[in-house]
Amino acid sequence: MSAILKQGLLPERIAGAGRRARSRRAGSAIRRGVILPVLLLVLWQITAARGLISTLVLPGPVQVLEALRQLAVSGALAGGIEVSLRRLALGYGLGVAIGVPLGILLAVSPLARRLIAPSFYAIARVPLLAWIPFLMVLFGIGEALKLVIIAKASLTPITLNTERAILGVPKAWLELGRLLCLGPWPTIRRILLPATILPVFVGLRFGLIQAWSALVVVELLASTNGLGFQLTMSRQLFQLDTMMALMLVIGVIGFGLDRGVVTAEAYLARRFGGRA
């Protein structure tokens, strides 16, 4: 009995200890990761408080937080975030809607690969900023331009990762499925999805990061609203504390979006038995 218990419990205990050790390591990594930002924050506050750099050029952290509070109270922040997130959702949604099917098509159809892949790679290799003047001529400077730029930014990583994910499924797994006489849906559910979901998610995650960066860029130019526009406007009106508060908001939202995708990825990994 005790032997059974030992056999049964020991791995559990070891696994538990391992988890604790991992979480300790993770905790200490986070602590170390915090050192530099905290140091910079302290240095920033000292610089501001002692007037080493004019607070007009580099407002102190307290001033920036106050600007953030004013932005929040006035409702301007919520308005800007709403506009920007809606734009992101539409542009990124467009990127996913095109990128995932395109990636699948490139992976499964040799003809499509021969026809589309060279053009796609050529387009992908021209940096986003270089596309903007051309896209402006094509789509004007309205909402369509913004959505196209955001979609284009997210399209490349999404398509490439989807394509590689499907190409990376071991042939033996599909053969095993055939041997077990699995129909198309069980093949997708039992073999393709678990094998590809994580690499595809890596693409979705990179795509989202790219989309968020692109959003801020397009809102900086030729825009009438959104966080990027508010950022430009606060610079034009020499409200650098507001500008830095908006930078903070943009950073936090970007971080939050990334964490959201990582969490979803971990959930799907558990659900489909992959590794996070």
Binding site: G142, M233, Q236, L237
Partner: protein, 361 residues
Amino acid sequence: MLDRRRFTAGFVTASACILPALASPNIARAQDKPKQIRIGIAEAGLGGRPYSFGNTISVVHAQGALEQEFGKDGTAIEWHFYAGAGPAVNEALANNALDFVWQGDLPQYVARSRGLDTRQLWVDGNRLPVYVAVSKKSSITDLAGLKGKTVANFQGTSLELSVDRILASVNLTEADLQIINLDQITATQAVIEGQIDATFLAFGLPPQAARLMRVIYHAGADNPSDTQQASVLTTGAFANAYPDAVARVAKVQINAAHWASLPENTDALYDIWGKSGYPVPMLKAIYQITDLKQFTSPLWDPFQLAQMQRSAADAFKYGLIRTPVDTKNWIDHGPLDGALAASGLTHYWPQFAADGTTRLA
């Protein structure tokens, strides 16, 4: 292994030593003669050419008058032209990178509301025009027709105060329009290409654009309170350190303004403005100068003083500045009055009442 605590302490100490060095102001102490005079102009020519127009400081620049005046003292004169207009000049001011600036009204109030120590010296850019233009094909015929339309404005520049005032005259605010922040050239192209409905412009239409666009509103001599004003300012630090140099700059500028006010020099004045790359016929069409003396006047007459009060109040009212600006004691009358007296020009330029149209003297 490097001791972590010692490394951190060293890092903080090193940073604390480097930062003040980066931030040290250029003007070290009071001396009779500055090593350099740095002038920032909130305007640049076509494609960023280092020339300006629509003012008389362009004459000082083009004729090398300050270089002549200060050359014998070994004082270097530096000219900086900012395509980013007033907001870019303010950033340079905040970095202690300029001693004199020429800029339009709103950025001056923005700078003062943020605590930049500037002194108003003399007017240079009286009643600068503002236009609202649409495509020839557009159905918009008047200001009220702008409601809900996409309209370009070069935000944060001196244009913006006029924009808000002109909109207020037909009970509109920027929020009633889709305002898009574009520089003037891009805005003009965008209207022609039909990407936006209209644009506010501070310097009219290039000749090619004029054929494709229609002006629906023009602020000029008839409605001076809607026009932009520009002036020359110095920093408090420079004024305190080199009062003599400020007085000498004033004399040079007043001479240039007088030169520009003489009808026989009009062609030469436009040629100087033309160095900016904008064609002379276009510049003539923009400024439509009928009264040279009124245009070149450096005086703080009742109109300019009233306009300053109005603009400071409006900048706050329209939410362009967060703290109200006190215009009291902002103008340093000494250098201008001294230069006028020395040149015998005290009563040369006309003065106007607060409305800007009633001539006083």
